[in-house]
């Protein structure tokens, strides 16, 4: 790993030894001779990314396309994510598939809190991203990323099953690139990054709070 001189190396950082530091060309050469070298980090990420268990949790129209992605034609099992778990305790991935209403939002956050780390979130469809066609509705949350961190956004109304599969592949790429230690270690390895978020309550007019500032800040107004 090369680092520029300007980057200070933290004292606590102990890099993973062995294969992670061997140049790719040498590893490829070894692999051709039948020697597989890898690091724990790569092995761990490889295993994780190829057995993502999503939470069985359909919200609206997009859930039908999520089911379609699990059936024979699209076959999400090719990507190792066919085991939809009804319990959040056993799930790695929450696919927010559909409109999140203000009545539903606290329950989505609660489910997210109940999932063990490492966990990921896919916002599937226009409604989960921003409220979509129902954005002007008085009871519709304008995007689930106001309360929980979203890793992958899949646009569409509803997205095709292929789009969901593409989102899943993007998530796999993200997982494979995650570091388990070091200054740029993944979110779930760091004690200072929260993994549970406050659950909003039903207020007189809206959810209280209406957003979680630790997760989402309103975009800055465009400068003239």
């Amino acid at each position: 790993m090369e680092m520029s001189d300007a980057t200070p190396t933290p004292a606590a950082y102990t890099p993973f030894p062995a294969a992670g530091n061997i140049p790719d060309a040498d590893r490829e050469d070894l692999r051709r001779h039948g020697v597989l070298m890898t690091s724990m980090e790569e092995l761990y990420n490889w295993g994780r990314s190829n057995s993502i268990w999503p939470l069985q949790f359909g919200l609206a129209c997009c859930a039908i396309e999520m089911i379609a992605a699990a059936t024979a034609r699209f076959d999400i099992a090719r990507f190792g994510a066919e085991i939809f778990r009804p319990s959040p305790r056993q799930a790695d991935l929450m696919i927010v598939s559909g409109t999140v209403t203000k009545k539903m939002a606290p329950l989505v956050v609660r489910l997210w809190n109940q999932m063990p780390e490492p966990k990921y979130c896919i916002a599937m469809g226009a409604c989960a991203i921003s409220g979509g066609p129902f954005k002007q509705g008085y009871n519709v949350l304008k995007g689930i990323d106001r309360f929980i961190p979203v890793d992958i956004y899949i646009p569409g109304c509803p997205p095709r099953p292929e789009a969901l599969l593409n989102g899943l592949v993007q998530l796999q790429k993200k997982i494979k690139g995650e570091k388990l230690s070091g200054p740029d270690a993944a979110r779930f390895t760091r004690a200072d990054v929260p993994s549970e978020f406050p659950i909003p309550e039903y207020g007189a007019h809206d959810l209280e709070p209406t957003k979680n500032p630790a997760v989402w800040t309103p975009p800055a107004p465009p400068s003239a």
């Binding site: 939470l55 069985q56 949790f57 359909g58 919200l59 609206a60 129209c61 859930a63 039908i64 396309e65 089911i67 379609a68 699990a70 059936t71 024979a72 034609r73 009804p86 959040p88 559909g98 409109t99 209403t101 009545k103 539903m104 329950l107 489910l111 066609p133 129902f134 002007q136 509705g137 008085y138 009871n139 519709v140 109304c157 509803p158 095709r160």
Partner: protein, 404 residues
């Protein structure tokens, strides 16, 4: 701890307005005695809104004596997306895409119900070819809906996805047709006031005709696998019974009503569209139990195939839009109209009040799944909690329509 009297839990139990337990009148192993007095504590179980068997974000709060349901309270509103309010603030045509998202398994027939109402309100006529195309789309949608419903019902019975794979195989074929025609798999947005949006090509019609011709083979395969299944019979016959009087009083419609033996199908009663030109039968059940509701769907799919065969045979040439129909700047005269049709789930109605402006003054949906759900508690009383899941599956709800 002293247990509360039964009547305090559910007033219906003491007044006797509902024969309780009505399952006791039935012969067979499904009879379960319900004790008059509880010998243990009652348990309240909240199922949903995140539950694999509640078909979306529906929640049931069941009070249990052991495994038996003594009270069941449905909780709605987790998918209330303000469809009606949004529609009152958009133009008439602007609401059409929102109707796709009401009952997202059957967007074509929901579109038609809305178009039908606006046509009634504004006095627009529909050309022959469009009338036939609408029937083709509505019946294809019925095939999709019923095939998927049976798959989901068997998921609830514990078959773990297998029948659903068969159903979705057929669904994909029909959805591909919809996509070729309208550009979207699920949200077709196909009907317009005074006709349809796209004219199918002869190749499309031929593909659809072949699909419909082969559909009975799928139904035979499906039935061979499911209908005589011993576990299925044991878990559905005599479960979740509704009497015809109960069903009519609660306003049930669709296959759930006809499973009780009430002959009421809007395709025959109203004769909307060109349905009077078609020969088909209305299947009727006898017992009003979960098994009859399952059989209704299978038989209706067979009748839909008959309708589709006739529609492909008789489809006339001609325009698909009324030339006088106006899409932009559409302002119907002040007035009100209620239009309804026999959707796959029951009577789907729209009520519109126009004040002469481009937006409806009042826009109201009569959702069949919500009204069919009102008898859920009566169906479930005296049965086990596991049966309640199957009963819910047999009612056929879509939360987009229940909560709107």
């Amino acid at each position: 701890m002293s247990t509360p009297p039964l009547s305090s839990l559910n007033p219906q139990l003491s007044t006797g307005s509902v024969p309780f337990p009505f399952a006791a009148a039935l012969p067979g192993p499904s009879v379960r005695a319900v004790h008059d007095q509880f010998h243990g504590d009652l348990l309240e179980v909240s199922m949903g809104p995140q539950h694999p068997s509640t078909h979306g974000v529906f929640r049931m709060v069941a009070t249990l004596d052991g495994e038996q349901i003594v009270k069941l309270k449905p909780v709605f509103g987790y998918l209330h997306r303000n469809h009606e309010k949004i529609a009152e603030n958009t133009t008439y045509l602007g609401s059409m895409p929102y109707t796709d998202r009401l009952d997202y398994l059957c967007s074509m027939s929901t579109n038609w119900a809305y178009a039908l109402t606006v046509e009634k309100l504004a006095g627009i006529t529909v050309p022959d070819r469009a009338q036939y195309l609408r029937i083709i789309m509505a019946e294809l949608t019925r095939l999709v809906n019923h095939a998927c419903l049976v798959g989901f019902l068997f998921n609830d019975l514990g078959t773990s996805f297998t029948p659903l794979l068969y159903a979705f195989r057929e669904r994909e074929k029909i959805i591909d047709l919809f996509e070729a025609l309208s550009g979207s798999r699920m949200m077709c947005n196909y009907q317009r006031f005074g006709g349809c949006r796209v004219d199918p090509t002869p190749e499309w019609l031929e593909t659809a005709r072949v699909l419909v011709e082969n559909f009975p083979r799928f139904l035979d395969e499906y039935e061979r696998m499911l209908t005589g299944n011993e576990i299925m019979l044991a878990r559905t016959q005599g479960i979740g019974r509704v009497t015809p009087a109960q069903a009519v009083n609660a306003g049930l419609t669709g296959p759930v009503l006809r499973a009780c033996g009430v002959d009421y199908d809007l395709r025959k009663v109203d004769g909307y569209g060109y349905y009077p030109r078609f020969e088909f039968r209305v299947p009727l059940g006898d017992h009003g139990d979960t098994y009859d509701r399952y059989m209704m769907r299978i038989l209706e799919m067979r009748e839909s195939v008959k309708i589709l065969t006739q529609a492909f045979r008789d489809l006339p040439a001609g325009p698909i839009m009324d030339p006088k129909a106006k899409l932009r700047g559409f302002r119907p005269k002040a007035g009100e109209a209620y239009g309804r049709l026999e959707g796959p789930k029951g009577e789907l109605g729209f009520f519109l009040i126009s004040d002469g402006s481009p937006n409806p003054y009042r826009y109201r949906v009569r959702p069949p799944s919500l009204i069919n759900l009102t008898l859920l508690e009566d169906m479930c009383l005296g049965h086990t909690i596991a049966d309640s899941v199957v009963i819910l599956g047999s009612i056929d709800i879509v939360l987009g329509e229940v909560d709107r």
